[in-house]
Symmetry: C2
Subunit: 193 residues, 2 copies
Amino acid sequence: MIQHRATSADDRAGTIMRAALDVALEAGYARLSIEAVAARAGVGKHAVYRRWTSKGLLFLDSILSLNEPALDYPDTGDVRADLRHQIHAAVDLLGAPPWGPLYRALLGEAQHDPAVAAGLVERFIRPQAEKTEARLRTAREQGQVSADFDLDLAMSILSGPLYFQFMITQEPVTHAYVDRVLDALFAGLGPRP
Amino acid sequence: MIQHRATSADDRAGTIMRAALDVALEAGYARLSIEAVAARAGVGKHAVYRRWTSKGLLFLDSILSLNEPALDYPDTGDVRADLRHQIHAAVDLLGAPPWGPLYRALLGEAQHDPAVAAGLVERFIRPQAEKTEARLRTAREQGQVSADFDLDLAMSILSGPLYFQFMITQEPVTHAYVDRVLDALFAGLGPRP
């Protein structure tokens, strides 16, 4: 009985999260409201508020429920090839629906709602940063990354230019662009000795 | 007579823009609406709509009207010192009211409204990118930047990590952080030859 009720609650949560994504994709994030999601899911407003205290937190859960590729780094022994592989996968996600426009809307909401920003970092950005750091640590031990490189900065240096293009210039982010960025980051801005 | 009317229209625009900034700072961007701004400015809604078609475009104009430091690069002959100087100025702006929270709200709106994103790039980001590129071109000619460095990437590589910290992790952006980033970018990730 308890089992059955738990499953039913999970089903309902899934229905609500799918409804949130549908509303955001079809009507745009500005039209997303708890009321609109409840209507779309065929449940009462209170069923939504019982689980989510704001539309931003509902939207965060909904996007993370998509279970997109975990963006893991392969380890082929060639760190630049592995970084390229992983960043190309990220670019493919960002460049197309549903993930691209949904993620952009989430990043927008994170600028207005600190709870959304904190949830995003804890559940998506920090795990990514840890994977990036781990892959670069191995590469550093193998002499493929400079012994001086500050691993704490790995995520922001590698992802920063990608997010800059996605959020600020909003020009298409292509494989060619991230390849050029990787080449420039490995070579460094300083003159060769 | 025409002169007088023009001045009066400019005065009114200034009053409206100041009201928009006040509402955003005091009530938060979510509460910013054309109605709230009109009420605060003591004008009718139509006076606002006559000049601005959306709250996002009004907010963009209002922020740019603040005439914050132009973030020009000095040219002391030492490119790393000059970059550090300019990026510290940007960090100081981002780290404190009114510019910091207002700019964050604007970047959030730019994720939802393509017209705001386009206006921001045209009027603020692209001029910054051109200054950055020009300063690095001079440095490249003087042998302070690698001859291979891809100048087109200068803005996204230098600013990306700053925006990543500001918008994504939302941890405080400090002088020490950008100094570490600059050091890492000049050294490059690749092993020393």
